[in-house]
């Protein structure tokens, strides 16, 4: 019996489990292979929904589906928390279920928000990266009577690199649609010298921000938030007042990864093409968990899962794995409440930017519904 153990039931872990369940169906049925997915809760979470929760367009429960409804019955689903990884013994320890041996381990534990790493951010800032944060932001936006809205990228790396530009263009449009735009100043801050990590995305955003009177602050790295005075202070020595602060909080990977020596900050050091961990044999990492030079985005987790499914199937069949990942990423990007564009790029190729239109906005909303087919390994 060859045991494939996947830790984490987000996009990467779920797509991988389902792909393996079809690629290795005969072997699983013959009890030659076990594909086990361990997740620390019963539900799968589709995080992009939370952006729309902030604008009152979706509910937090729309982001959830039971893993048992999404995962092929050939996958052994295990709701438990992995608390220790021993890559020498090829064994993990679970919180409730004891130890588990593996032949192949895939870490897909994802990213966690740690706003407490920036003093004052928990008290002073809003975010849309989880159910409570998005609901609190929805209420704060609805109650906002005017003043300065500051959107600030505080933590890097962070999930969904498109989100800062999307949220800023959406919130500007949202206030306009509500007839409040003249009472609201919109500010955007970014850590480096342009508006986005990708030059071409920054070049796309710059004239749109200027046309829509969004004030920008670059080389702006928040060191501290003063929630009493409502001021941001940066490591570069600048200050910025706000009436409503929306921030991308700092992120961390799972402590498990640091403790097992697989990578700093909870991101597993991997070969960027094979996605194999550099510090251990027969260990892969996918999605936000991997310290590959690709964005922490759902499409990356999805494509990486496809690559690792092929590699693991080859290994199980006694072949040399040859499938590799080359940084393929596709992101929809809202440009307001009714228009969107999309970008695709990889390790070698920069995004080609396109003008926004309504059709791509509808495509994004449609994909948010059909995502559940992606999770099932079908789309």
């Amino acid at each position: 019996m060859q045991r494939i153990l996947i830790v984490g039931g987000g996009t990467g872990g779920t797509v991988l489990a389902n792909r393996l369940s079809t690629k290795l169906d005969d072997e699983i049925d013959a009890d030659e292979v076990e594909v086990r997915l361990v997740n620390d809760g019963p539900d799968h979470v589709y995080k992009p929904v939370y952006l729309y929760v902030a604008f009152g367009q979706r509910e937090p429960e729309d982001a959830l589906r039971p893993l048992s409804d999404l995962v092929n019955p050939r996958v052994t689903l295990d709701v438990d928390r992995v608390t220790d990884v021993d890559t020498d013994a090829k064994r993990v320890t679970r919180h409730d279920g004891g130890e588990l041996d593996y032949d192949y381990l895939v870490l897909a534990t994802g990213a966690t928000l740690v706003p407490e790493e920036t003093p004052g951010l928990v008290e002073g800032g809003h975010h849309f990266y989880g159910p409570e944060g998005a609901e609190n932001l929805r209420d704060a936006l609805a109650d906002f009577e005017g003043g300065r809205v500051v959107f600030s990228v505080v933590g890097t790396p962070h999930m969904c690199p498109a989100a800062p530009i999307e949220f800023t263009l959406m919130v500007e449009d949202w206030f306009r649609e509500r007839g409040m735009r003249d009472e609201v100043d919109v500010h955007y801050t970014y850590p480096i010298m342009r508006l986005h990590g990708k030059q071409s995305i920054s070049d796309w955003a710059e004239p749109r921000f200027a046309d829509r009177d969004i004030e920008t602050h670059t080389f702006f790295n928040v060191e501290e938030v003063d929630p009493e005075e409502q001021v941001l202070h940066t490591v570069e020595g600048e200050s910025l007042d706000y009436d409503l602060l929306v921030a991308i909080p700092p992120h961390r990977g799972d402590d498990l990864i640091v403790e097992s020596g697989l990578g700093d900050d909870g991101w597993v050091e991997v070969d960027r093409n094979t996605l194999e961990a550099t510090a251990a044999e027969d260990v892969y990492a996918i999605g936000d968990t991997a310290a590959a030079p690709a964005p922490k985005a759902g499409s990356v987790a999805h494509y990486e899962a496809g690559v690792v499914a092929e590699r693991l199937a080859s290994s199980v069949h006694g072949h040399v794995p040859t499938e590799t990942y080359h940084g393929k990423t596709i992101c929809f990007m809202e440009a307001g409440m009714d228009d969107a564009t999309y970008v695709s790029f990889d390790y070698e190729n920069e995004p080609v930017m396109r003008d926004e239109n309504k059709f791509v906005h509808w495509a994004k909303l449609a994909y948010n519904e059909s995502y559940w087919l992606t999770a099932r390994g079908l789309l």
Partner: protein
């Protein structure tokens, strides 16, 4: 030769990046590092040779050296 002049406490391998970019990777590391920490940023993005010194100058950290390693650059930084 300057290859071995600086011994980094931390190495940030941003070769091949990519979104969100080597400078962003460096800033994330600098923010959480202790004062005096020497960080080596490995980058294949030629733009880093301009971007990184510009940010270090603005943020008040020290640029120790930029070393051409052949197929990438090592940029050595000390956190102030």
């Amino acid at each position: 030769m300057s290859e071995h002049k600086h011994t980094p406490d931390v190495t940030v391998d941003a070769r091949g990046a990519g979104c969100p970019g080597p400078l962003m990777d460096l800033i994330g590391k600098v923010k959480t590092a202790d004062e005096g920490t020497v960080i080596e940023l490995q980058t294949t993005d030629a733009g880093s040779k301009d971007d990184v010194p510009e940010w270090l100058d603005k943020a008040g950290h020290e640029l120790l050296d930029i070393v051409d390693q052949g197929d990438y650059w090592s940029i050595y930084v000390r956190k102030a």
